[in-house]
């Protein structure tokens, strides 16, 4: 049991003032995606690059079809400048047909390829592929594969749970990097939480140091190779009896 000598207050008691969800640890794939997007946007580059992104979300699965995702990628390339004539022409043609019908997926892909060809380099970042409905995911991956075949300088960054790797591997040769919490990241998160703690009177320097030492070690240990570890069952963190 962790206890700071003299204070009588243990780490678990103090930490109970927070709800520390792992989702809040700022270590999730979603944060990694936003970091990569910002890094690409901030990096000085000699040639003009275009960056398009999308965050999949299980709460909006019905709307997140392959054609809508490909469409929003196209939208982001288009808004960088004037709407290219080929996009405008496709829109006007569609508008005059059956009261403005939308493009079909193959047509949307074709228009996107034309838009990509305008740029020396295009990055496409799609977060949380596993949150797509399976039928939409397959169509999306097949669409991206077609884009890569015709535009080999395009770079695609995707995140998701490990189980989507099988589907991804069916469509592309990929480099894969596991995302797991790093000690530095957890410490940074804890420091931020402690700085924002409104009950400063209950925290001493010794206890603060102990929290910053013990919890990152414990979380890192638990996250190595894990998928379903429930931190609330950890004896050190839940034993309030000292």
């Amino acid at each position: 049991m962790l206890r700071e000598s003299g204070s009588g207050e243990d780490v678990s008691k103090v930490s109970s003032r927070f709800i520390w969800r792992r989702q809040e640890l700022s270590l999730t794939a979603r944060n990694i995606s936003s970091l990569v997007i910002d890094d690409l946007c901030d990096e000085p580059c000699e040639e003009e690059i275009a960056i398009a992104m999308f965050y999949c979300d299980f709460r909006d699965q019905q709307k997140q079809t392959a054609i809508n995702i490909i469409g929003t990628i196209l939208k982001q390339l288009v808004v960088r400048g004037e709407v290219p004539e080929h996009v405008r022409a496709a829109f006007r043609k569609a508008k005059n047909e059956v009261g403005g019908r939308r493009l079909r997926l193959p047509d949307m892909i074709r228009v996107l390829k034309q838009a990509i060809a305008i740029f020396p380099q295009v990055f496409i970042c799609i977060d949380a592929l596993d949150e797509c409905l399976p039928k939409h995911l397959l169509e999306l991956l097949a669409s991206l594969k077609g884009i890569l075949e015709e535009s080999p300088r395009t770079r695609i960054f995707v995140t998701g749970r490990p189980q989507v790797e099988v589907e991804i591997a069916r469509h592309f040769t990929t480099s894969a990097v596991p995302i797991s919490p790093k000690t530095h990241d957890i410490k940074r998160y804890l420091e931020n939480k402690l700085e924002k703690d409104t009950e400063h009177y209950a925290m001493s320097a010794g206890l603060r140091a102990e929290i910053l030492r013990i919890i990152p070690e414990r979380v890192s240990e638990m996250c190595v190779g894990e998928s379903k570890i429930h931190l609330m069952h950890d004896p050190i963190l839940t034993n309030r009896g000292g």
């Binding site: 678990s12 709800i19 969800r21 944060n31 970091l35 054609i67 995707v158 940074r188």
Partner: protein, 75 residues
């Protein structure tokens, strides 16, 4: 750009897709802590992907992990 084409642009954007991820991206990046996750940017996989060094074989970078769910707490 003439007025007709400028007026048409919002309609074209909506026609292309009803999805707009910009607000979501802003929310996520606002909550992100500086320095967290920077290790990824230093990996060989990311650098090769970013720089095109790996050619077509390194065109897709997949980062995988098990995101926390709301039910998993550290108390």
């Amino acid at each position: 750009m003439n007025k007709v084409t400028a007026d048409e642009n919002p309609e074209i954007m909506q026609w292309l897709s009803p999805l707009d991820p910009r607000g979501r991206h802003q929310d996520v990046r606002t909550d992100r802590l500086d320095g967290v996750g920077n290790w990824l940017l230093e990996t060989n996989e990311f650098r090769e992907w970013r720089s095109n060094e790996g050619g077509a074989d390194k065109a897709v970078l997949f980062c995988y992990g098990n995101p926390g769910v709301g039910k998993t707490y550290l108390r």
